[in-house]
Amino acid sequence: MMDYGAAIGQQLINGVVLGLCYALLAFGLNLIVGILGIMSFAQGEFYMLGGVFTFAFMQYLGLGYVTSILASILIVAFIGALAERFLIKPLAEKDMEITLLGTFAISIILMNLLEYIFGNTPQKIFTPFKTLYNIGPLVINQQRLVIIIAGILLVLLFNFMLKNTKFGISVRATSQNKVAANLVGINVAKTYTLTFGMGCFLAAIAGALMGPLSAVYPSMGQNIGLKGFVVIVLGGMGSLPGAVYGGIILGVIESLGAAFISSEWKDLIGYGAMILILLFKPQGLFGRKGAGV
């Protein structure tokens, strides 16, 4: 009986860690969905870039793990902003629906470009956070602890920024009423570019943090990009708290499902949950109809 409880506890920890990474990626995706009003198919590739760049900086430039993460997430945010400014914005001016294909194109271009440069061999990121901690019968390694702390801090930080700073309020104002935003002097085009960059930034952090727990390779964004959709369907399109709760819920049910049913069922459980939500609560668990960010 004791063993069973410990196993559940262990899987809960793993689930929360995985869930916080989903949450960061989905928080960024919901920023993009909620503020620009477009769905991005490239979110998984920005996650991948975070991981692959972190690996590359460590491997080829000899930088430390933390420095490499900081450098890669800033570069990824910049790439995201450029993609919005020079690809998504011109498309959106012609037809909002084409932007969906535009982000799909970004996803394929990034994946293939990186494969061309680095090859598709899975690589390992070696983290300096290797200590193991024992909490009663449970074991947690330092990297997982770092993910939990960083994930919570980032969500709180972005939430604070959006609620309390002039920039954050102007971002929310733009999502709630574009005409009025223009009329009060908010530079809407710039807000969109910065927001898309922030969304990519969050995905990249998740990728760089998860790197040491799995492996990094150019096509790693495909599956996690789909998980991003599952999370925002669970939590509610455009809902930021929804992205966080939805991410953690998905991470936990996947981990428990993998441990106690079968690891082959892991994806089925996640997508199954998405279909149930779409059927019975299409606005998501935490979404409100017609609400802005």
Partner: protein, 235 residues
């Protein structure tokens, strides 16, 4: 102050404004009346830079506005109160006003003075300060949007149908505040379907029909004009 010459604007495939001339001088309160679909809102959107002019010019104190972005036009001192109470629904009343001063809030003394002025015009707003804008009544939302525009300290205020859908008593209140704002030296261009109301408080008026200005005169003359009376005043 504002000089529009031969302005043409298309709204999608439709040419909604077909070459109009319109002028607002310093300190004036000008009304632009006409039926639904005459091109009044399109004209205001072109002034604010929300729509691009197809031809013609809009000069504000000598500066051509048709080449500027909406936030640059606001910086020049032209603010718009759009039709239909366009608040930021999920922001508080105070945050809405703060956004109104988006380009000017660096000087906090100026911000506070302007805020005080708005609160004096609309005493209901300080009472609702921390409420979300979507919880306000229609009249309160209209007041909030006017106050939000005033927070940018405009020299020219464009108002699009401020009376639409408001209770008669609230309409009177809003109209008298618009007059008060104008008396403080802010020029006003007032777009109204309610021609009577607009002509009562304005110095001069323009009548717009299917994209063209068909009449312009002192407001009191327009109130006596037989065509205007039958077409717009319902007399």
């Amino acid at each position: 102050m504002l000089e529009i010459t031969q302005l043409e604007v298309s709204y999608g495939a439709v040419q909604a404004v077909k070459g109009i001339d319109l002028e607002v001088k310093d300190g004036e309160l000008i009304s632009l009346i006409g039926n639904n679909g005459a091109g009044k809102t399109t004209t205001l959107h072109a002034i604010s830079g929300l729509l691009k002019a197809k031809a013609g010019s809009i000069k504000f104190n000598g500066q051509e506005l048709t080449v500027l972005k909406p936030y640059e036009i606001l910086q020049q001192g032209v603010a718009q109160v759009p039709e239909g109470r366009e608040v930021f629904p999920e922001l508080t009343v105070f945050e809405n006003l703060e956004m109104g001063a988006y380009l000017t809030s660096k000087d906090s003394k100026l911000f506070n003075d302007t805020l005080e002025m708005c609160y004096t015009y609309f005493p209901i707003l300080p009472k609702r300060k921390n409420q979300l804008a979507r919880t306000l009544s229609g009249g309160e939302q209209q007041m909030l949007v006017i106050a939000r525009a005033l927070m940018s300290q405009p020299k020219l205020l464009l108002l699009d149908e401020p009376s639409l859908g408001l209770a008669p008593m609230v309409v009177e209140q809003v109209m008298s505040i618009i007059q008060e704002i104008n008396k403080k030296g802010v020029a006003v261009l007032l777009v109204e379907q309610n021609a009577n109301l607009a002509l009562e408080i304005s110095n001069r008026g323009y009548v717009m029909e299917t994209g063209k200005i068909v009449l312009s005169d002192d407001s009191k003359n327009l109130l006596d004009n037989e065509e205007v009376k039958t077409a717009y005043l319902g007399i």
